[in-house]
Symmetry: D2
Subunit: 286 residues, 4 copies
C-alpha cells in the first residue's frame, strides 16, 4: 500500500523471438529496477502480452521521456501499449441505483486507501444514497432516467463523466442499460457487474432464471461494457453454492456477496493495468 512510485508498461504485439529481451534490455540499459513482470504468449492468436512494473526512482528520466524513448521499440514490435504512473491516481466515476452492497464495499475500500483512486462523483437515478455519498465528501448527482428522457439523461451522464475527467466508469449494480453510443465512446473504460455466471442467464432477473433451472451454484461476472448487452470481455467471475432450500430472494442475498467481491477484484485488476483486452477476451495478469 505504501509502495514506492512505479511505472507500469502494459503491452501486446505479434509474437516473435526476442520480445522480452528487447523490452527488458531497454529498461536494463537505463538501470531500471523491475519489481514485477508478467508475460503471456497466446499461440492460438499468435500474440504476445506483457506487463512490467519499474521503480520510478531507478530510472534517470521521467515518464514522458520514457515514453519518447520507448516509442521506437514499440513501433518496431508493432505494439499496442501504454505506460502509467502510480503517482497519478485513476479517476473513477461510480453509477448506482438503489442497491447498497457494491457502493458500500467500494467506498469502504476507498476510505481505507485499499483502492488508491479519486472518486470525482457518484451518479444515480435515485436519491437513495445522496447522504451516504456526500458524508464521504464525494459529490453526488441525481440523474433520473425515464422511458421519455433517456437520450438527455445519458447525455448528462456523459457530460458529468467528461467534466469529472473520469477515466473509468463503474456500473455498481446500476440497473440501466447504457445506450450503444455511450458504450462505444469509452471502450475498455466502463466496467459492469452482472449478477450471473455468464454466459448463463443473460439479461433480466438472472437469479430467477437460475432458480427455474435448478442450478447448484450461482455466480457473478465483472466485464467491460460493449454495445452487446452482457457480451463484453470478461474480467473476473466467481460462484457461490446454493441448494434446493434457497428461494430466489435467498439467491439475491447470497448473490450480493459474490457480486461485490467480483466487482472489487475486477476493478482492482483494471486500475492496476493488469487487464489487456484482445478481441472479446482478456488477459489478466493477477
Amino acid at each position: 500500500m505504501h509502495r514506492e512510485r512505479f511505472y507500469t508498461l502494459a503491452a501486446s504485439c505479434p509474437d516473435r523471438t526476442g520480445i522480452i529481451a528487447r523490452v527488458t534490455g531497454f529498461i536494463a540499459e537505463h538501470r531500471g529496477w523491475i519489481t514485477e513482470s508478467s508475460f503471456h504468449s497466446d499461440d492460438i492468436a499468435g500474440r504476445y502480452f506483457m506487463r512490467i512494473e519499474v521503480k520510478a526512482a531507478s530510472l534517470p528520466f521521467m515518464l514522458s521521456e520514457f515514453r519518447d524513448r520507448f516509442a521506437p521499440i514499440a513501433r518496431e514490435l508493432q505494439m499496442d501499449w501504454k505506460i502509467t504512473d502510480s503517482a497519478v491516481k485513476k479517476r473513477v466515476v461510480i453509477l448506482v441505483s438503489k442497491q447498497e452492497h457494491c457502493l458500500y464495499d467500494l467506498l469502504a475500500r476507498w476510505q481505507a486507501k485499499e483502492l488508491d483512486i479519486e472518486i470525482p462523483c457518484v451518479i444515480s437515478n435515485h436519491e437513495t444514497f445522496r447522504g451516504f455519498v456526500e458524508w464521504h465528501g464525494i459529490p453526488f448527482h441525481h440523474v433520473p432516467v425515464t422511458a421519455e428522457n433517456k437520450p438527455q439523461a445519458f447525455a448528462e451522464i456523459r457530460r458529468l463523466y467528461e467534466e469529472s475527467r473520469g477515466d473509468t466508469m463503474v456500473l455498481a449494480r446500476y440497473m440501466q442499460i447504457l445506450p450503444p453510443e455511450l458504450c462505444e465512446a469509452y471502450p475498455g473504460q466502463i466496467l459492469n457487474i452482472h449478477h450471473s455466471f455468464l454466459p448463463s442467464f443473460v439479461g433480466a432477473k438472472p437469479y430467477h432464471q437460475a432458480y427455474q433451472r435448478g442450478v447448484k451454484l450461482i455466480g457473478a461476472t465483472c466485464h467491460y461494457v460493449t454495445r452487446d448487452l452482457d457480451q463484453g470481455p470478461i474480467i473476473e467471475q466467481d460462484v457461490i453454492r446454493i441448494d434446493h432450500s434457497d428461494s430466489p430472494d435467498d439467491m439475491v442475498r447470497y448473490g450480493k456477496d459474490i457480486e461485490k467481491t467480483v466487482l472489487a477484484r475486477g476493478l482492482r485488476y483494471h486500475l492496476e493495468d493488469r487487464v489487456l483486452v484482445h478481441g472479446n477476451k482478456t488477459v489478466v495478469f493477477r
Copy 2:
C-alpha cells in the same frame, strides 16, 4: 462405512400441517430409531419433501411389513414415496468410451467399498478398458456404436442393463447420445456427467466454447438424463478456476478433475436416495 443396517424413506407430498408428526409418529409408535432426517418445504411449489433413515433393528418388522403398514399414511398424504434397505446393494451399470478418469475414479471408490454397490457390468463402444475392468473381476461388454447400427446397439445396451438387473446407469463420459426411448424407459435412473457448468455450453466441445467466450471458471454438471439433451434435472455442479494462459487442452485436463468429483458426489447422493426429483429440479438432502 461399517454402518448398521437401516431403511431409508424418501417421499414428497402436497404441503399441509402435521406431515412430520404423522410420519415420525408412525415410526415412533413402533419404537423406530431415526438416525438421520431431512425435511424441505417448497413454498413456491406448495410441496413437501422428506428423507428419513431408521435403524432396521429398532423396528419389530421387516421392510415389506413396513411398506404395508406405511401405505395407508402415504395414501392419506398423497405421497410419492419409496423405502429402501441399506442391505440391498444398488446395481450400477457403467457406460464408458475412451476417457479413463471417471472410470478409474469410480472403480477406486468401489474397490475401497466407499461406494457400496454391485457393478454387474461395464459397457463401452471401445475395447480400451476391457483389461482394466476385467482385472477388477467385472464383466465388460463391447457394444460398438456406428451411424448405421444405432438402434441395434442401444437395444443391446438395454438388453444388457435388463439382464444385469441394473437399477442405475452411469454415463461416465460415454460420448454417445442415448435415444429418447431409452431415456424415457428409465426416468431418474440414468446419470450423466456433462463437462460444463450448465446451462452454459450445452452440446459438443464445451471447453472450446468456454475458451472462445473467455470465461474465468469452468465447470461440470451431473444430471439425470431425459430426452432433452443436457436439459435434465441437475443433481450436482462444481467449477474450477482457469485463466488466460490455459489452452482448450489445459481446460480439458482441469475439467477431468472436476468431472470425476462431481459425478462421484452426484452418484453418491443418488445411491443413498438423497435426490428427490420434482419437475425438472431436484431436492438433494446432502
Copy 3:
C-alpha cells in the same frame, strides 16, 4: 425478507426414540405450520439437536403460552431449549477498532434490512468511525483502552451493553482481548472474527505467521468468545487462495474480504438461532 412472523424452537437433548414425533406431534396438535425444520443426531455424543420454525399465525396461542405448554415436553426430554419470535429483533452491539471492512459490511447489510436487527450502539477504542456510525443514526461510544485503564474500560463496555439491552456482542476486528470475566458473563453471546483459519495461527499477526510458513491459502474464523483466546466454538470458516507473490500486506488485504464474509455468515446463523453449542463445538443448521 418480508417473511411472515414465525417462532423458532432450537433445542438439544439426550438421543432416544420418538423425539421428533413428540415435538412435532405437539405442534401438529395445535395445527402449527412448520416452514423449516432440521434435526441432527450426534451418535458419538449421544445427543440430539433440532431447530424448527413455525408460522406464528398458524398457532392458536402466543409465544408465552407456547412456552408454557411446551415446557413439560422439554422437561420430559431433558432438553436445553429456547423459543424466539421473529417479530422481536435481536439487539446487536458492535465493537470496532480502526479497521473499516467489517463495520461497513455490517452496516450495509443492516441498512438494506438484510440483517433484520437493532444496533443500539457501536463501541470503539478509537474515534475513527464516529461520523460514519452517527450518520447512520446509531449512537457511537468512544471507550479508550490503555494498559492502565483496562478494568474500567471493560466495565464501561459491560455497562453500555447492559444499558443497551444487547443480546449479541460482535467483535468486528476489535483488536482488544476481552477479560475472562466479561467472556464468561455472556456465554454464546459474543462473536469474534479471527483472521486465520483456526487452529492455525492463534494470537497476534496471523498473516505474518502464514507468510512465514508459506501456506497457499489463508482463512478467517468466526467463533464464540470464551476465556481461552481463539479457542471458542467455531461457527464458520472460509479460505482464499494466495501465492508466493503475495506479501503480508497483500494477505491482509485479501484477508479482509474473507473476514467480512465469514463474520456476516456466522452472525446471520447466530441471529437466526441456527447455532447450537455443545461443549466446544457447534451444530449449525444452515
Copy 4:
C-alpha cells in the same frame, strides 16, 4: 499434451537490475523462442526467481551446449539453476500403503499420458495393490516395515530407488515416517501428501483432531519431505467444506478427494520444474 520439445530453465539469484534482460538477451541472441516465462521478485528476501520455457528446435545447439554457454551468465548472477529437457521423462517412484485413492488417481493420469512420466516401480509395505500395479505393466516391490526391521527396510527402499534411477519419490499416503537420513539424501525430490491443512493437525489422525476441534473445512497439503515431520516446504494445499453432520469417517472419505487432487497438482508443478524452493518456502510458477 502433444507439445513440441522444449527446455525449461528454472533459476533463482540475488535480486539486482538487468536480470531478465541478461537471461532473455542470451536466449534472443541465439534466436530462442520463449513460449512461457515467469518471474518473481521477493523483495523481503532480496531474491529473484524465474522459469523460462524455450522451444528446443528454435535453438542452434543441444541442451549440453546450452548449459555450457549459459554457465558464465549464471555464475555472474550467482544463480542456483537447472535446465531440463521435455524429451527426458522424469522417473517417479511411488510408495503406497493400503489406501487406494492416490494410487488409482496417479495411474489414471499416467495411463492417459496426462502425467508424461516413467514409473519404474511402485513400492509398498503391503501386498494389497500388487495385482493392480502389475496389470499396468509396472514392477511392484513389497518391502514390509516393522518395528524391528526399519533400518533394513528403508535401506532396501533406497536401493530400489537408486536402482530405478528415480528422480522423484512420491509418498502416496504411504503411512510410514521416513528416517532423517533418507529425507536428507534426496532434498526436493520426495513429495508427501498430508491429510490436513498444515500447519493445523500435524502428525497422526488429523481428521480426528479436526473433528475434535469442530472446524468447518478440512484440507490436504502436498509438501517436500524434510527431516522435520510435516514441516517441509509446502507446494500446494486445498480444503473442502464439512459440517456438524460429518463423522470422522465421513471426513476421511471427503478428505480422500482433496488429497488426491492436491497431490496430483503438486506433483505436476514439481515435474514441470515450476517449484523453486527457498528456505522452507516455495515459489510455484503455475
